[in-house]
């Protein structure tokens, strides 16, 4: 533990603890995980805030993410540059939102962003179709996909604009008991 103290300053650790749902120990553990992805890139000293970014290929190869059909989207949404390349801050941010401590609304907000493939702030049909195809690993036929999407929009689109806004999505999430346990990466 003695040498780990020098990775971050106390102020840095405070701000990490204030802004994420993690404790000091978890932050250090996440840092280790982050560093394990590319030990030659990530320095052991973060007190001077080095500008290090790990490419998406490394992030996506983590065992927690590699089976996830949405891993690319997740990385894109949480990365600062929108392309999945992550700094340590992005990395902590991602796992903070995915932790069990994060509230449902915050999770729903990010889930919405993840499913919003074209970044237009609405889940339109094409977004839903993409989501569904990823979820079912292209097992459904086109007709079935269309039917499910129509059904979803039909049911959740409260303001009748043919697509789901964040509010629609959040009301939908309240009725999905599995959401909290599935929108969750244990690390």
């Amino acid at each position: 533990m003695g040498n780990k103290q020098t990775i971050f300053t106390a102020q840095q650790l405070d701000s990490y603890q204030d802004c994420t749902y993690f404790t000091r120990k978890e932050i250090l553990r996440l840092f280790d995980r982050y560093r394990d992805l590319a030990p030659q890139l990530v320095p052991l000293d973060y007190t001077c805030q080095p500008d290090v970014k790990l490419p998406y290929e490394l992030i996506g190869s983590m065992p927690e993410l590699k089976d996830n059909p949405f891993r690319q989207r997740i990385a894109e949404v949480f990365s600062d540059d929108g392309e999945g390349n992550m700094t340590l801050d992005d990395f902590l941010d991602m796992f903070s939102v995915m932790s069990e401590m994060a509230p449902r609304d915050l999770k729903a907000y990010y889930a919405f962003k993840i499913y919003d493939f074209n970044n237009d702030d609405f889940l339109c049909k094409s977004d839903l179709e993409k989501t569904l195809n990823k979820l079912t690993r292209n097992e459904l036929t086109e007709d079935e996909v269309r039917m499910v999407c129509e059904k979803v929009i039909d049911e959740s689109d409260l303001d009748n604009d043919g697509r789901l806004s964040l509010e629609d999505f959040q009301t939908m999430i309240v009725r999905a008991p599995d959401f909290l346990s599935t929108f969750h990466i244990r690390i």
Partner: protein, 900 residues
Amino acid sequence: MTSYSNGGLFNPAYHDSETLEIDRRSSSKTPLHTNPYARGEGADGHYSTGQISSDDALRRVPRGGWQEESWRGRESLPMGHISTRPRSPSWQHDINHSTFQIPPDSQYDRSLSIRLPSTTSGNMTMRRRGISMRRMSMFPNGDPNHVAFTEDAIRNEMENEEQNLVKELVALSTRDRIWAIRDLPMSFDEKKHIRSQVLAFKSAKKSRQFTCFADCSENMSLSFRRCGYGIRSARQTLELWQGIMKEIGGTFGTSVLSYFMFLKWLLMFNIFSFLVNFGFITIPQLVYSPWPNISPNVSFRGLEILTGAGYFNNTVMYYGGYSNETKLHLVEYNMQLAYFFTIAVYMVLCGIALIFSMASSFKTNYVLADPASNMQLKESMSENAQRERLSLSESLKHFGVYLSAWLLSTSLAVGSGASIYYLCQFEQQRATDSANWSLLQEAETLLVPFVVSLMNLVVPLFYSLFNKFEHYSSQRKQIYALVVRNVLLKMSILAVLCYNWMNVVAVKFSCWESMVGQALYRLVIVDFLFLMLGSFFGEFLSNVIGTRLLPRLGVPEFDVARNVLELIYAQTLAWIGIYFSPLLPAIQILKFFILFYLKKVSLTQNCQPPRRSGRAAQMQTIFIALLFFPFFVGAVSMVAFTAWSLTPSEHCGPFRGLNSTYNVVEVWMVHLKETSSSHWVVWIYQNVIRSEIFYFLISLIIIVIIYIFWQVTRGRKLRIRVLRQQIVDEGKDKSFLLERLQNLQKSHPDKRSKQKNPKKHSKRRPDDHSSGGQSTSNAMVQAALIQAMQARQRAEGQERNEHYSAGYYESPTNTSSAVTQAMQARQRAQVEGTDNASDPTSSVSSVMMQVMQARQRAEKEDRPQWVPAPPQNPAPAGSSALIQAMLARQQAQNEYDDGY
């Protein structure tokens, strides 16, 4: 996240970075699309041509450097503002040629709609959401007519927003503030920025007072917080198996994790039960007589660990090892009462805990989940799959398979019950009621538990075999069928055993409670051995077969249902045994503890993650329900029957000499009545516990309360339906009003060419103001406000335009009247907006009413007789706001057109 893949297969098909790229490009390139309200072919077609012309126009418009720059910087460049035209007369000219113009004020209305939620609602979440929505939306659609001025305005706006947020955060307590910052949907850097601002603000405020004191308190609070974080992290470390749980959940998913959570939960139950029993029953007994009175010819032979008989027979392990005396060591301690109340209270607590966890999990996982719609979807999905193959003969065949499978499995369950019964009778004939058995006799007692566990291991395998032949339409039904059959089997076995204990053993043996305790001990131990064997056969062998011999079968998946049922069975044994063997929970703790690691190793070595994620949450509810309903209730009724009706053995145990265990309470009451001063206890016992009227009244009251709640629930359901309908209606109204607006603009055929852009403009609007992320309830008010603002701005812009495009204006009075009308309209709309903010519920409905009126009126005046000026219109203020806004806008448009 929502699904887990098999064996970590990496499928490049999901890796669709290319499509994403394309999407993003197209979305940024075609900014003006998606008008959800323009339904129908005509509108769509029109829209697409407009789209093309807009792109054309963009290409044709000769842009200056500033336009290029703003185009590039549109992501970060916030909303446009009013006066862009004065600076670019040449561009204006061009636009008119290319019949395209991007309405500058459309930017304005977006900023408005976004700001509205945060200003109207004081509460924290709304504001947060307001900010976040803006951050999220940040103008994917760029307009070339941004200038530095608008940039500044928007930056100011954002800074204001941030300042407000910071102020709100400063007002909170430290703890709340940290949580609020954590909950902000922003990236980490933004959060850090906000946090540093808050801290700076706070310290600035403090330093104005006492610098030294402020420093000190700052340090104190910091160290307190660090201490708190330390405690939190220490608590996490202390939490049992936390790291392992995360590892399992991370690699195998929620459904497998639910098994381990369940195991841990049961372990906690047992630890509690052990502490209670040990603390209140065993310790007093040990204090009184530390050494059990074991007859000298009984020695420890080793087999006792398996059988629990012999040496253990007279220890505190079993009922027989406890005395019936009132201890007078240091304080008076009545062993009988302690034994009775400890078991009773533990059972009641267990029941309450089970009911609560069952109810809460039922609430979240079933009631909220809205199963009806899911069922519909599933039915329609499976309809496609089944349509081709379900002829009459086929369905008859299916029915036959179901029937025979159910018959077979039920008869298997009944058969195993019957065979256990005969086996028990056989054993009772051979067993003798003596203190010391020979080694062989002792080993013979293991026969029944062995057969029971063997049945529990083998028969479920047959059930899974049946399951393969049945073709259930869904996986859920299949699992339910499997679970029901297994429960039937276990219930029948346990029922036979209990019957045997209460009717045969209780009569034959002198210290029969200890005998039952021993039997339960053996069952628990042998069950544990078979659980280990089961995970060896079930997982290790099938892994070997799947990988070496028959690769077709593949690596097995972890069978959550079977394993959970095994746990439930094990726990039921412990519950039944708690009366007969108070220290059985200790064995159970050991068993579960070892089982956890065993299963974890078996899982990671032999299994692969489940291919389908399944409904883990609902399955868990079912498991808790199962644990409660047949098993816990069965165990409690067994123990209760023993306590109320059976005569305790005469020569051993705490209740020797009594007619039934419950008599303890009566004896105690008599004792209290004679000696002590606490007559109220006696009074309560006689008038409350033992009186029928009390129970009658209680049940009556409960029934009445249930009825009231039922009615309230029905009322709420009705209300929810009405509210939902209202939301739908409002959505319809919104689209209706927007449609009317479009129609109005179309209704001037001679000016069609010039009105192309306003049409486009109106099409964008729904997009704009719904991106504010505001709920539909005050969307109408916003729409009115926005339209009024637009009208005003258009009029103003018009005015200015006429000044700039010199020589074209003919009727300045008209213009000014349009401006005043629009101003009035806007003021009214704003009045409504503030009303809405002050009293949300009533004003929403009033706005609703007004919108309805407006709609009716619009239907009446179907012909475009919109020329009369709105101020003369004697309509009530509220209902006219919208229409006035529209009219003002329309009129301004007309004048704009006339201006040329």
